[in-house]
């Protein structure tokens, strides 16, 4: 943290404290998003601020009793410094993003963003939400999280003939750059896991919640490899490089032939097979063979749907494909 940051904070600290005589160190630290020690240091310095040059000086009066703070004689800084244009834009963008996905649940987000946009002078031609995230979010899931009820999800693992129904305790939806994840405790498979893009799924409100405590707060939506995971190597062409962002990688290697090699582990090879299929030939499974076979089987049965004869298509479904995801 630079001296500049410290100055900006102190110029804000004074008006904040003038409004709240007797605020506690902890409250101040929370409001400014810094450590209590930083606030202590700021207050120590503030005691030497004001107009030191005039006669004996005309300094701010900072009194700390216990952990309570009172600032007086600082009316020169009665109002806060305007946020810089860049700070203002970043704040509007942040709140816009949150209002976009949670504005229905927390209406104050929307009214607040309107007010700060006007006050900070950020026009809609500089920052705007042109199409909201609404359609991406399943309201059934959102309602279930709020009402703390379980949800039955028909999740069709790739390669599986039919959907399996899973019972989950959902506790958060996460939106990461246009993709959403469901954070849930999965009773059917056991364990707490992020379900990426639960879009091959239908959700119904399930039975009332079990009589036990809530699960702990959600971990970040990062996949953590487990001991039973399948080790996978994908080789991708230029057009399949987006896969590197779509999965959590152990390693990636540029090959001399211009291809990219992705090393990863997964507990949901069926989902991975779907991703490989989405790359439309721009990605190949180097290992394991079972996953490679799964991709081929999926592509073959999908391709068969476009055969001239309907009967030919109907008979060409995948057979005997393992559902890795359910194992």
């Amino acid at each position: 943290m630079s001296a500049t940051d410290d100055v900006a904070r102190m110029l804000t600290l004074v008006p904040w404290l003038l409004e709240r005589p007797g605020a506690s160190l902890a409250e101040i630290a929370t409001a400014f998003g810094v450590e209590v020690a930083t606030i202590r240091r700021d207050l120590g310095a503030l005691d030497f601020c004001g107009l030191p040059g005039l006669g004996g000086g005309d300094l701010f009066d900072v009194t700390t009793v216990g952990d309570r703070v009172v600032v007086q004689m600082a009316d020169e800084l009665k109002r806060p410094l305007k946020p810089t244009p860049s700070e203002a834009l970043r704040l509007v963008l942040t709140v816009d993003a949150m209002a976009d996905v949670a504005g229905e649940e927390v209406p104050a987000l929307r009214s607040a963003v309107g007010k700060i946009r006007a006050a900070l002078g950020i026009p809609r031609t500089t920052a705007d939400v042109v199409a909201d995230a609404g359609p991406l979010l399943a309201s059934t899931l959102r309602d279930a999280i709020r009402d703390r009820v379980q949800v039955e999800i028909d999740y069709r693992a790739r390669g599986a003939e039919t959907a399996t129904t899973r019972l989950v305790d959902p506790w958060a939806l996460h939106v990461v750059d246009g993709t959403w994840y469901l954070q849930a405790f999965d009773h059917t498979r056991g364990g707490r896991r992020p379900v990426p893009r639960p879009r091959g799924a239908a959700a119904r409100r399930g039975p009332p919640p079990p009589a036990r405590g809530r699960p702990p707060p959600p971990p970040p939506p990062r996949y953590v490899a487990g001991p039973d995971d399948v080790e996978v190597v994908l080789v991708v062409e230029q057009g399949g490089r987006w896969l590197a962002d779509a999965v959590v990688l152990d390693e990636q290697r540029e090959r001399p032939d211009g291809r990219l090699e992705l090393h990863l582990r997964t507990d949901a090879p069926a989902w991975l097979a779907q991703l490989v299929l989405m790359a439309g030939g721009q990605a190949r499974v180097a290992q394991p063979a079972a996953l490679r076979a799964e991709v081929v089987a999926l592509a073959r049965s999908a391709r068969a749907r476009y055969a001239t004869s309907a009967t030919e298509a109907a008979g060409a479904g995948p057979t005997g494909t393992d559902d890795h995801a359910a194992s």
Partner: protein
């Protein structure tokens, strides 16, 4: 460090408190700083401090001093102070929630400025939805937008090819939960939109401030929709297992069926991205129309099934 922080705060107070421009000599008397025997050194120190305050957003103004050849300095209170914003305790809490849940660094201070004279936040229920931002990219772009500086970044197009772009960033917009920067692409000399999550490195500003002007008739919504986003209506036959996915995407039943599956119409699909979305649904959908998309899906499936597809082919190195 502390001495410098104190000096900058006190300089701000002195410049705010005065009604008329103060010369450096007067500032020396008022603050007790800049009293080096070497006048040039004192001047240099003051100039550095002044620049630093300006970076913070303190509007240090230079003005002529009456009956003197010297320049004077002051901070006009009206330009310095943030006018009161009538925020409710709920709104303050909502702003705090947004800053906390998105983990945007640097925004807590901006929030503290807004909240300094507002009511204390009330307790709000935790929303069920969280959002993560590509904070670094958003920060870099926001800074370039307000300073009107061009930026350069690596970018992966929707078709997967990589390239470098140089852009005059006009605006940042959000569309269907993704961020875009809208601006003039230097190479194409045309308005383009770029998704922040497709940038392959952090955008870097280059060149001078105020390097461009934003066109008066800028239509951000149209820019984001862009020519390559122009959608075509698509007809899909959908198996029961994929119905939910198609409906979530905005598909509506037409009432017709195709080989026992209901036929859905989707209003406008993107030629690249949606080809891969359809591929991901595997054997559960059949593209009926338009023929161009149908052919593209068939060609992609053929590519997956190309000779050698079920052999390892490419061994890991």
């Amino acid at each position: 460090m502390t001495a410098k922080v104190e000096r900058l705060v006190n300089l701000t107070v002195a410049l705010l408190e005065t009604r008329r421009p103060l010369t450096l000599r007067e500032l020396k008397q008022r603050t007790g700083y800049y009293d080096q025997a070497d006048g040039a050194a004192a001047r240099r120190m003051f100039e550095r401090d002044k620049d630093e305050l300006r970076r913070l957003g303190v509007p240090v103004t230079v003005a002529p001093v009456p009956h003197s050849e010297e320049q004077g300095y002051l901070v006009p209170r009206r330009e310095y102070e943030l006018a009161d914003i009538e925020l409710t305790g709920e709104e303050v809490a909502a702003l705090g929630l947004a800053v906390r849940l998105t983990g945007a660094e640097g925004t807590p201070l901006a929030l503290a400025k807004l909240a300094a004279r507002a009511p204390d936040p009330v307790a709000l229920p935790e929303p069920t939805t969280r959002v993560e931002l590509s904070v670094d990219a958003v920060d870099a772009i926001a800074d370039a937008v307000v300073r009107r500086r061009s930026v350069r970044f690596g970018y992966r197009r929707a078709d997967g090819t990589d390239g470098r772009r140089a852009v005059d960033p006009f605006a940042v917009v959000r569309r269907r939960a993704a961020w875009y920067v809208v601006g003039r692409d230097h190479d194409r000399d045309a308005l383009r939109a770029f998704r922040l999550d497709r940038m392959t490195d952090e955008p870097r500003a280059f060149g001078d401030d105020d390097a461009f002007t934003v066109p008066d008739d800028l239509d951000v919504e149209r820019a984001v929709a862009g020519p390559e986003e122009e959608g075509v209506p698509v007809l899909l036959a959908v198996a029961p297992a994929a119905r939910w996915a198609v409906e979530l995407r905005g598909g509506a039943r037409t009432g017709r069926t195709h080989a026992d599956w209901p036929v859905y119409e989707l209003p406008g699909l993107h030629p690249w991205r949606d080809r891969s979305w359809i591929l991901g649904l595997g054997p559960d959908v059949v593209v009926l129309d338009p023929p161009r998309l149908r052919d593209a899906v068939v060609a992609a499936l053929d590519a997956v099934l190309a000779p050698g597809a079920d052999a390892p082919g490419s061994e890991p190195t």
